[in-house]
């Protein structure tokens, strides 16, 4: 019987080695596997390279505490600066955290390419900008493109809304974001899921990520991301 469910976050995080590249899903707090990152702090792996869209804000969320604990060597990220990203700012300014800044679409495609077995690709994004520095330029049909390389990870940390014992997943609304492509791009994909459902409960055409991309699933019914209601205007 295939059963990828594990009983605890600690069990889910077993075996992550020092020096690993770890991807984490999420666009801000939505679709972000904060409980697994908490588990990574407990687990103890260090000298990590992180791959994700943001670098956290405030001082209490797990991603920020992982950075503050000095466990991350480098972050590959599109938008590390946000309201309250104080810990990232401090570490980066002090030279204690390397940043590889990547345009968001290029970041997504580099991850997607890794999962799809494509080692590199040409993209028009960032041609003629400071972020093109050191990159191969190729002219194709009169337009300029940069060569960008796939990003593979040792571990992907994913947040799902529903999961079954095969690791079939669904995501809730914009909680999907980077999660499906990260699930495909890592050797070890670990999922925290809001709901655990029986095999067959997710209709075949409703599976967002087939279980073949998933190694471990842990049930984390935390309720959902904190809301962020904008004031009018």
């Amino acid at each position: 019987m295939i059963d990828k469910r594990v009983k605890s976050i600690a069990e889910a995080m077993q075996g992550i080695k020092d020096g690993s590249t770890v991807m984490f899903g999420g666009f801000g707090a939505v679709g972000h596997p904060a409980h697994l990152i908490d588990g990574l702090i407990e687990q103890g792996a260090k000298d990590l390279t992180l791959v994700g869209n943001n670098a956290g804000s405030g001082r209490v969320e797990p991603l920020v505490r992982l950075l503050a604990a000095g466990r991350v060597r480098k972050i590959i990220c599109s938008f590390p600066r946000s309201a309250g990203s104080v810990v990232f700012d401090e570490l980066h300014k002090a030279g204690k955290l390397e940043l590889e800044l990547v345009p968001q679409g290029t970041l997504a495609e580099r991850i997607r390419a890794a999962g799809a077995g494509i080692p590199a690709f040409y993209t028009p994004t960032a041609y003629g900008t400071a972020l093109a520095e050191g990159k191969e330029v190729r002219e194709i049909n009169g337009r300029h493109y940069l060569l960008e390389h796939a990003i593979r990870a040792d571990v992907a940390l994913v947040e799902a809304y529903q999961a079954d014992r095969w690791g079939n997943l669904t995501y809730k609304l914009s909680g999907r974001n980077f999660n499906p492509i990260m699930a495909m791009a890592a050797s070890l994909t670990i999922v925290q899921s809001q709901h655990m459902v029986e095999l067959g409960d997710i209709g075949p055409e409703d599976v967002h990520t087939p279980g073949v991309f998933v190694q471990r699933v842990v049930h984390v019914p935390y309720g959902g991301p904190a809301s962020n209601l904008a004031t009018a205007g």
Partner: protein
């Protein structure tokens, strides 16, 4: 202070600069029914308030096609945020994709229009909006560079001059570029300008403004758009 209530200061006798809301409404007039539009965070987002009565599809880089307005306490759905990570609603007919598909849509030329803010726009369509320094502070780029090269049209909405009165429309950008030769039109509190083969072409001006006054606030030569 809400953007819609903000009153733009008068620049000269009788000149009535457009408020941010008026500039956003002026831009919205030029969006035809049926377009798929991506709005940057901040000033560009105001545009969505002024397309009522037309079916315009708003795309958000985090994988939303068919984004509605900002959520209220009654409509809140915590799993639904816009590019600025504020909670939003969906419209009927909306769909959700993952990030690679969202940026495939953006880079692949499937977005009719992207509206962004900018620090500087040059007469050849170069623009700078992602960082004011490559050495100070923390850089962050997000989706701006992908949107700039991928959307069918890139329109900029911004104040005509900086807070200290310096022109933001220039011969050449001083700041690090977001993309070269990308901008096709600019909406400011003073004017609407196309980026033409020979530089900025004025399509429309705020009430009471003369070409001479507009030129004085612009760092590149202006010409009237031939009608």
């Amino acid at each position: 202070m809400t953007a819609t209530a903000a009153r733009a200061p008068a620049t000269a006798e009788g000149v009535k600069p457009w408020s941010r809301a008026q500039a956003a409404a002026r831009l919205a007039q030029d969006i035809p029914e049926g377009w798929c539009v991506n709005l940057g965070i901040g000033f560009p987002l105001l545009v969505s308030n002024f397309v009522k009565g037309r079916e315009v599809i708003f795309q958000s880089e985090n994988g939303i096609i068919g984004m509605g307005g900002l959520a209220t306490a009654e409509t809140i759905e915590p799993w639904l945020v816009n590019a600025g990570k504020q909670n939003v609603n969906l419209v009927k007919g909306a769909s959700i994709v993952h990030h690679a598909d969202s940026f495939g849509m953006i880079r692949g030329g499937h977005i009719d229009l992207c509206v962004l803010g900018a620090f500087e726009v040059a007469a050849d369509g170069d623009f700078a909006n992602w960082t004011t320094s490559l050495t100070d502070g923390v850089p962050a780029v997000g989706g701006a560079m992908d949107l700039a090269v991928g959307a069918k049209r890139l329109w900029i909405i911004m104040d005509h001059t900086s807070k200290d009165g310096r022109p933001k429309l220039l011969e050449r950008c001083d700041l690090p570029l977001t993309a070269p030769k990308a901008v096709t039109r600019v909406y400011t509190n003073l004017a609407v300008l196309d980026v033409g083969p020979q530089g900025f072409e004025v399509l429309d001006m705020a009430p009471g403004l003369t070409m001479e006054e507009l030129q004085a606030k612009t760092g590149a030569p202006l010409r009237r758009k031939a009608s």
